[in-house]
Symmetry: C2
Subunit: 303 residues, 2 copies
């Protein structure tokens, strides 16, 4: 008998409880009313914080302008995770050939063309072109939210292909960006702690692709550009990141032409809540029926 | 001087009011807090109705299993509207070639492969595989909601490429499906009327592609399989559909193997709210600041 797989077990529990509905694709689920109400409550929690920071809220569609995507360097760093949207621009004759090839299992993708969009790679990516030019004194704060996509099919219910990300972003001065990440992550960890989650900050790296990627990852850890808050979901040994704090330095300010009021290339930083991961973490921590959660957690979350 | 374009004018007004944020792609916008609160209120309104009908709510991600999509016949009918998600499954060497081709403007899509998903073509499409098999007596009702995609770049702010759709769906007996569409659409028109919108039901057709499509469209109108509720947004002459009622007959029951309790192929029908279109219609009808909307509309919507 195979060893029990804690990821599949949790996924099956969430499906049996009708919190998630399977779609036949790993890491892609429909969500129940109960699940969605937790997601919405986490979004409201982050929004209350964004409001305190006088952040401008931007709710994003699940697709991103391809031109924006191309400037993020994502294809260079994470080609295996992206989703490129391809469309059909042919005529009647080409349509007949498209249908024929699909049915014959032939090379029909060759008849499609890249569309104007890709699947959203990160909520904040759509933001940077909106910041182009000279920023006001002190920079700007934004709160961005939406569905993101990562092509990493997995039975782990905390590793979805399509998932909600809610970020609080600062764009502006170098030192303020660093402080936004450090103080912001501490604040975010506090909010999650108030929900009864035990979240530990750890240095982390993005999942850079390939041989070159290993060097990039090592550098990112060395310079502490990325910190994650991790909590046990399926495993105590391999806790799951449910929040991250990221110093982008000039990674976005440079290609998107964003300048501080002093005319320097703007830095940016974000604190990103993995809303679906927080949702799953809460269900594991407090039980699958939110009506039975501790009163203090309910009072903080569902207000 | 060119004649004023009422679609561009409205889009620019919504952007100037910071209700929508442009992304550089026609029909793709970030949404403000104010805009999003209207969207959420419409979703709650439809959910209250779904709850009265004892419908199961399923909130869907913005991508759909490709295998499901392939069974809907969408590629045959609406190839020009779909978005196919393509992914990179290569190694280091192929990644280097991918990056080289992107920078050289070469044939890099050829290095991608179709992923497990496509952009969601309609909220209800994800539902049918979940219904496979024998239904209980009386069939089932669902309420499904999520971002859908149509590749039709347009300056009309009521014709977005990525937009929210919220449907109330019946799957089961033939006569109940027909009644669900007829009575459900009437109920939906009533809900929109209570929000101060003047919505007129008209026979309609789906935007079938190409030469063959014209015949399909004519048949659909002749048999009154699709009705739309239209309201003036940018034009009195060309009002915009903001809700539709659709009899699918066995279009989904057959390929997805859904049977009534009596063992017949199930019929399905849906009443679909174009949530973004309703939002834009409300902003045009009552003004760009919801705080100034009539008290009766506010009371009904924001509760």
């Amino acid at each position: 008998m195979a060893a029990p797989d804690p990821y599949r077990e949790l996924r099956d529990r969430l499906i049996d409880a009708e919190l998630l509905f399977p779609t036949g694709v790993e890491g892609l689920y429909g969500r129940s009313q109960t699940y969605q109400e937790i997601v919405a409550a986490i979004d409201r929690m982050v929004h209350r914080w964004g409001t305190e920071l006088k952040a401008t809220a931007v709710y994003l569609p699940p697709v991103l302008a391809r031109r924006t995507f191309d400037s993020t360097n994502y294809l260079q760093s994470f080609p295996d995770l992206m989703g490129s949207v391809h469309v059909f621009r042919g005529n009647d004759r080409e349509h007949a050939e498209l249908v024929r090839r699909v049915e014959a299992d032939g090379d029909w993708p060759a008849l499609l063309e890249p569309g104007e969009v890709v699947l959203s790679s990160a909520a904040c990516h759509a933001l940077y072109p909106m910041c182009r030019g000279r920023l006001p004194v002190g920079g700007r704060r934004y709160e961005v939210s939406g569905f993101c996509f990562r092509h990493e099919p997995s039975p782990d219910p905390a590793r979805m292909q399509a998932f909600n990300m809610h970020e609080v972003v600062y764009v502006g001065d170098h030192d303020v960006a660093q402080r936004h990440r450090d103080e912001g992550l501490a604040h975010g960890l506090g909010l999650l702690g108030e929900l009864g989650l035990e979240v530990t900050p750890v240095p982390a790296n993005d999942p850079f692709f390939g041989r070159l990627g290993s060097a990039l990852a090592a550098g990112q850890i060395e310079e502490e550009l990325k910190l994650e808050g991790v909590t046990p979901i399926c495993s105590e040994d391999k806790p799951t990141a449910i929040i991250s704090g990221n110093c982008h330095r000039d990674h976005f300010g440079l290609p998107f032409g964003i300048e501080t009021d002093a005319g320097e290339v703007a830095h940016s930083a974000c604190v990103a809540f993995g809303v679906d991961r927080v949702t799953v973490a809460l269900l594991v921590r407090h039980g699958l029926d939110p009506a039975e959660w501790p009163g203090s957690v309910r009072a903080r979350l569902f207000r």
